[in-house]
Amino acid sequence: MNIQFRKDERFRESFSYVNSDAGVLRFPFPFGEDRYMYSVNIEPHTRGGPNPAFAHAFDIDEHYVAECRERALVLADDPGRCQVLPHMMPAQWDTLELLMESFAADYPEHFSLEKNGDTWRWINRPLGIEQTFVFGRPETLPCPPFEYITRQAQGDFTLQDQRDDNLFVDGGMVTTQADWSLDFDIGMSFHEWHGPVPLAHDIGVFDRALRFLLRLQYGHPVRRLNWTMTINPRLDTSPENYPDWGPDRTTVTPDNVSEKVHLRVELQTLFRLPRSNAILFGIRCYLLSLKDIERVEKWRKRLNRVLTTLPPELVEYKGLTRYRDTVLAHLAPRDDGAPLSSGIQPDQTTLPPSALSNQR
C-alpha cells in the first residue's frame, strides 16, 4: 500500500484541505445509532473491524506529511505543547519503540527500522529522515525520544503514569486538540483532567473507565471514538489559541455551512507500555466537511438525527450552540427518516460527485 501524501495542505489561515473519495469512505464516522450519549464505548484495538482506520496499530493517511508540518509550526510558536515530566523517561523510550516498530511493520514502504544491538537506524521516507541513534541514550537524538517520534506521527499523544490506583497525565504532545490544554492539565489525576465533561461523571462513566484502564494489559490495546465539530479544517483548536479560532463559530451561514463545518473525530487508542508500565494514549484526529459527509447517505441522515436529539449539555460543552441550527436546517431536508443500519460503516463503496450533492 503506497499512500499518496497531500503535501501542500494548510490547517490554518488560508486553509487547504481535501479528502480523496477513498479518504471520505475510510473516515471513522462515530455514530453507530441515531442517538448519542456518553458511555464506556471501549473495545479491543484489534486489527480490522468496521473501518480501515482500525487496520493498523497507528493509522497513517494521505494527510500525514502535512499534519507533521503543522505540528512543527505549532511547536515553533509554543514549545510547551510538548512536555514530559522527568520520571517518565522510560515511557519516552517505550513510546519511541512502539511507534517505530509499528510504523516499520505496518508501512514498510514508508518506514524502516534496523537494529544492531542498541544502535538503531530509523528511516522515515515521507519526511526524508534518516537517523542513527543508541536506544536508551537521549543525547544521540536531536530532541528527547518522545518528542522525536511524535513529531513524526499524526494525532496527539499523552503519557499516563499509573500509581496509587490512579492515572496521572505526566506527559504529552498536544498540538491538534479539541479545546484542552496539556500545559494546564499536566500532572492531573484521571478524574481531575476529566472534570469539565458534563453528565458522564453522574452516570459513573469515569469510575468504570478508570478501573478498566488500571487493568489494561500489554499487547491488548483498546480504542474508542470521540467527536466534536470544528469550523474550518483547523487542527490546532487549543485554549492557548482561542482568539484565533473561537470567532470562527460566528461565521457559519446557510451558504457556507457545508464547506465550513467539519465533523471532528478522534480515534483514541490506549497502549500499556512495558518498561514504564505507563499508558500511551493516542488521540488521532480526523476532519470531514459536511459537504463530504453528505455524499454518504447513511452518514448524512444519521448526523441529522444525532444533532437533533443531542442533550443540551453536550451541545454547549462541544461548542455547537452558535451553529447547530444552521447545520440542522441544511441536513433536515436531506433526511427522509428511513431506518438506517446500525453500526458506523458507510453502506456504500463509491461516492456521488461532490458537486451533485449540493443540488437540492
Binding site: 458511555s39 464506556v40 464505548n41 471501549i42 473495545e43 479491543p44 484495538h45 484489534t46 486489527r47 496499530a57 520520571h87 517518565m88 522510560p90 515511557a91 517505550d94 519503540e97 512502539l98 516498530e101 509499528s102 542498541d118 536508551g136 503514569d161 499509573q162 500509581r163 496509587d164 490506583d165 469510575d207 468504570r208 473507565a209 478501573r211 478498566f212 487493568r215 494489559q217 500489554y218 499487547g219 491488548h220 490495546p221 483498546v222 497502549f271 500499556r272 512495558p274 518498561r275 514504564s276 508500565n277 505507563a278
Partner: protein, 314 residues
Amino acid sequence: MILDAPLTARVAGIDPLSPTLKRVRFVPERGRFPTAAPGAHILVTLRGPERIWKNAYSLVTPPEQRDSYAIIVRRVEASRGGSHFLHDHLKPGDPVEIGPPTSLFPIASLARRHILIGGGIGLTPFLSYLPVLRARGAAFELHQYCTDDESEVFAGLLAEAGGMAMIHGRTNRRSVAGILADQPLGTHVYTCGPERLMAAVEAAAFAAGWPSGAIHKESFGSAEGGAPFTVTLARSGRTVPVSESQSLLEALETAGVEAPCLCRGGACGVCLTRVIDGAIEHRDHVLTEEERAGGRLIATCVSRARSDALVLDL
C-alpha cells in the same frame, strides 16, 4: 504492539540449577519476542500426553532481551503437575505456547529508593528488575531469604547485582522490620515469595508508617479463571461447559452462541445478561451494589458462577 495470538516458541535449553530448580530458555519460532516489562510473567501452555497445564512464571530475562525468554521453575511436590512435567518431560526443541508477557508488578516511577525482598523462588521477578534498576542508576537494595542449602544457588543468580544483594539464610538472618526501619521517605518496597513472607513485609511496612502505595506484593492475580461450572441457556435449552481457564463469554463463543460483548474487561456493560437461576461471583466494574445483591445480571466477560451451574436468559 498488538498481540492477538499466543507466541509460538520452542525450548532452547534447560539448565539444572539445583536438585529442585531448573532454568528453561525459550526462543521464538519467528522474529523476536515482544519487549517484556521488568517483573513480567508469562502464561506457559504445557501439553502433556493426558492433559494440558497453563502455568504462570516470572520472566528472569530483562526487557531488552528479545531473542529469548527464560524462567526458573521449582519442582513442587504438591503442584498441579505442571512443574513435574516441566522438570521430568520437557526437553530442548519441544514446541510451547506462551501468552504475552503480563505485568502486575511494575517498578514505581516516582520511588526514590527501592527495597526488593524475595523469598526462595520468589527471587525470580527481581532478576528482571536488577538490570533495569542498574541502567536507570536507581538506588536499591535486594534481600533474598532462603534455606542455607540454596543460598549458593541464589548467590550465583545474583552475582551480577554487585554488593546491593544480600542473602539471608536460616541462620544469621536480618529481620524484615530491621530492613525497613529508617529508610528514607520516598522508599518503595517490593516483595515476592511465600505468602507468610509477603504478609510480614506488608505488616512491617505499615507498622513503620509506610503509605500503602509504597508497598508492592507480587501476585499473578489472574482473575480470569476459576472453578469450572456449566451454564444452561433457557431459550434453547442448551448446556455449555465453562472450563477453569475459560471465561463464561469465551465458553459461549466457543459453543457458537451469539453473546453480546465490547470491552471484554467488565467495564462497558454491553455483555450484561439476565440470570434466571444460580449464584454469581461478580468481578465486573459495572453493576451497583444493589444489582449485585439482586443476583439477576452477570457480566459474562469476567464474572463466573459461585454455584455448579447457572441458567441464563439466552
